[in-house]
């Protein structure tokens, strides 16, 4: 659906519930996708949360998925945008970010503390250096960029298969999401990720409860790369998912749903 924001619109999935029918007293949840992706990477969580007592919105960042407009060029600008989305939807919100989206969630929690009830960071690390071949493929808008992300992004189990949603080939789905991104967007997002250096500083100023969901087989943001961030946050909850790669929302959807439900009810 398209939702108006100032003088433009953004696109979001919310489980197909009419905005007018949502219960204003239900807590707000905002799901933030990663580099070159869009709202649909959350399809295993959005609809579930929307029908389980939350006003859940998986949003498309500007120039991603169904949201038009020029792309945002820094994590902090993206955090400002998320904060305006939270305000528009009637915040504060529990925010959940994946990969680049986890940086955005962290920055939103640090820069806009009044907007955020809790922050869940999925596949996060202190920094996200990008493989030069991936950056090159993305700069050239090659389909290979999507294949790199889908290939490295999933743990070994998903390279075999066994999607919880019958008939879907998970690696193909992730490849298509990234391939379908607008030209130049993956390249820009990746360079934003690799040049972002404020995680530790922001982690120190975050006041809300935080949870990290880390995959034991994540090649893109390996488990150990999250440790400095864990040390910098105040009392974070750390959930490690065995055998899971960079895409735990789709790789371990049930576990992620449960962590989110636990989180939201505790904070």
């Amino acid at each position: 659906m398209l939702i108006n924001l100032a003088d433009s619109y953004f696109s979001a999935a919310n489980g197909g519930i009419d905005l007018k029918e949502m219960n204003e007293n239900d807590p707000l949840v905002v799901l933030i996708h990663g580099a070159g992706m869009d709202r649909t990477v959350w399809f295993q969580q959005t609809r579930f949360l929307s029908h389980h007592g939350y006003r859940c919105f998986a949003v498309d960042l500007p120039a991603h998925g169904g949201t038009e407009g020029p792309p945002l060029e820094t994590i902090n600008e993206m955090a400002d945008w998320i904060s305006s989305v939270i305000e528009r939807l009637g915040g504060p919100a529990h925010i959940v970010g994946h990969s680049m989206g986890s940086f955005i969630a962290l920055a939103t929690a640090a820069n806009h503390p009044d907007s955020v009830l809790s922050a869940t960071l999925i596949a996060v690390a202190e920094g996200m250096p990008v493989h030069p071949d991936l950056q090159t493929a993305a700069d050239d808008n090659l389909p290979k960029g999507a294949s790199f992300i889908a290939g490295w992004g999933h743990g070994p189990d998903q390279h075999l298969g066994g999607n919880p949603t019958p008939g879907l080939w998970m690696i193909g789905g992730a490849t298509a999401v990234v391939e379908n991104s607008k030209p130049g967007i993956l390249s820009l997002d990746l360079s934003i990720c690799s040049s972002y250096e404020e995680t530790l500083q922001q982690a120190q100023s975050v006041k809300c409860p935080t949870t990290l969901i880390l995959g034991s087989r994540d090649k893109m943001t390996p488990r150990r790369a999250a440790q400095p961030l864990i040390d910098a946050l105040t009392n974070p909850t750390v959930v490690e998912l065995e055998g899971v790669g960079h895409m735990s929302m789709t790789e371990a959807p049930k576990e992620v749903r449960q962590v989110l439900l636990d989180n939201f009810s505790n904070s």
Binding site: G15, H51, S147, L160, G161, N163, G167, L168, W169, A176
Partner: protein, 430 residues
């Protein structure tokens, strides 16, 4: 540059879609011969029914054995998902019924499997869906035939009966220029010989009955969702981009993005029309796919042996196979089908209808039947069997001469196949 991290085709043929069962350790894919699945809780059941979470409810909608086959085919084709059906015809119907409504129009290649041609000519019009047939060689002919109600272009990647080679990219570009998808039937090729999605096709239909299953033992079909077509931006596909009351106003493109077609085809089409695949058939078809790469190599090399024989044979007037230099699409085939363009060919027999009949009666190893893509060599003479009621004139309009014999080359020793064909060809001339 490093290569993306992914299993190669042969490995996917054996493994994609399946992790060994953690509770039993079963290495082979178990046949889940069950109609239904116990729910963990009332809440889980409700969430499954409402498409909030993934899982199995009832085997008309999904089944764990069938799901392995679906994932495997999607992985081999490079798609986002697949929905298996009771037959290839059911797959074609499911794709059309998911995307089109009454009043809609298809532009289709004229060189099709007879069953598909029939469905579009006689059956779909009863439901308000019309089709214009065109020569598949020209993107312009598709565009000229399109109108404001056109919702898709349809063609076989290797056509019928002349094994016409589709320039997938050119026809896909034409389709996309008017905001409609290209749907292809890739039954004769299998993903081993060509992966149409990589060339721009949006949906791939298979009759798994043929080379994918490969042993002539189970009927089945699949709709493979490429996940690249932007259904919402096109604005022509309300079944995917507008609220559906069947699931409390769900908008499939909003929620599932590139997987919208797969999800709707299952949640509506399998659920309501019910042309599902049985778990046992899925098991048989999976066994076939395990050896797809090996079989297709041999199908193709045996086909080349048969082409060599026919090329030199006095009783043969002409040959139709894209790997043969006389085929009008030979150059295109060389470009698109680097591993060969399949194992179905036709040839003209000297002496027409009578000689064709004698040839069929004289083969001893090859089987005379109405199928293709078996491990065994198959032959048919349409003028004396499937099309016997047609006059010479009607046959030629359909592209089927009285002299046309079709062979689906099997996996026997090529010397035995050639000896059998040679003997029958000689007998046909007596």
């Amino acid at each position: 540059m490093v290569e993306p991290d992914a299993h190669k085709f042969d490995t996917k043929s054996l493994h994609a879609g399946q992790r060994p069962d953690p509770s039993t350790g079963s290495r082979a894919v178990p046949i889940h011969q069950t109609t239904s699945y116990v729910f963990d809780s009332v809440d889980e059941a409700a969430a499954l029914y409402n498409l909030e979470v993934g899982g199995h409810i009832y085997s008309r909608i999904s089944n764990p054995t069938v799901a392995v086959l679906e994932e495997r085919i999607a992985a081999l084709e490079g798609g986002v998902g697949a929905v298996c059906t009771s037959s290839g015809m059911a797959a074609f119907h499911l794709a059309v019924a998911t995307l089109l409504n009454t009043g809609d129009h298809i532009v289709s290649s004229q060189n099709l499997y007879g069953g598909s041609h029939n469905m579009m000519t006689f059956t779909m019009p009863r439901f308000g869906i019309s089709t214009t047939f065109v020569d598949p060689h020209e993107p312009k002919s598709f565009l000229d035939a399109a109108n404001e109600n056109t919702k898709l272009f349809y063609a076989e990647v290797l056509g019928n009966p002349g094994i016409e080679v589709l320039d997938i990219e050119a026809i896909a570009d034409a389709a996309h220029s008017i905001g409609v998808p290209l749907v292809v039937d890739a039954t004769f090729a299998t993903p081993y010989l060509i992966r149409p999605i990589e060339h721009g096709a949006d949906v791939v239909i298979h009759s798994l009955t043929k080379f994918l299953g490969g042993h002539g033992i189970a009927i089945g079909g699949a709709v493979v969702d490429g996940g690249r077509f932007d259904w919402a931006a096109s604005g022509k596909f309300p079944t995917l981009s507008e609220p559906y009351d069947g699931y409390h106003g769900i908008v499939f493109t909003d929620e599932f993005g590139p997987q919208a077609l797969s999800m709707r085809a299952r949640a509506e089409g399998l659920k309501d029309f019910g042309a599902c695949m049985s778990p046992s058939n899925a098991f048989y078809l999976l066994q076939g796919i395990e050896t797809l790469p090996l079989r297709m190599q041999k199908h193709v090399s045996n086909t080349h042996s048969v082409l060599d024989l026919l090329d030199k044979h006095d009783a043969v007037e002409w040959i139709r196979h894209p790997d043969h230099p006389s085929h009008p699409d030979h150059e295109l085939a060389k470009r698109l089908y680097t591993k060969g363009s399949g194992a179905i060919l036709s040839f003209g027999i000297s002496g027409g209808r009578e000689a064709g009949k004698k040839f069929i009666e004289s083969v001893e190893l090859a089987s005379h039947l109405a199928n293709v893509g078996d491990a065994k060599t198959l032959v048919i003479h349409p003028a004396s069997t499937t099309h016997q009621q047609m006059s010479a004139e009607d046959l030629s309009t359909a592209g089927i001469g009285e002299d046309l014999v079709r062979i689906s080359v099997g996996l026997e020793d090529p010397a035995d196949i050639c000896a059998d064909l040679d003997r029958a060809l000689k007998a046909s001339q007596r």
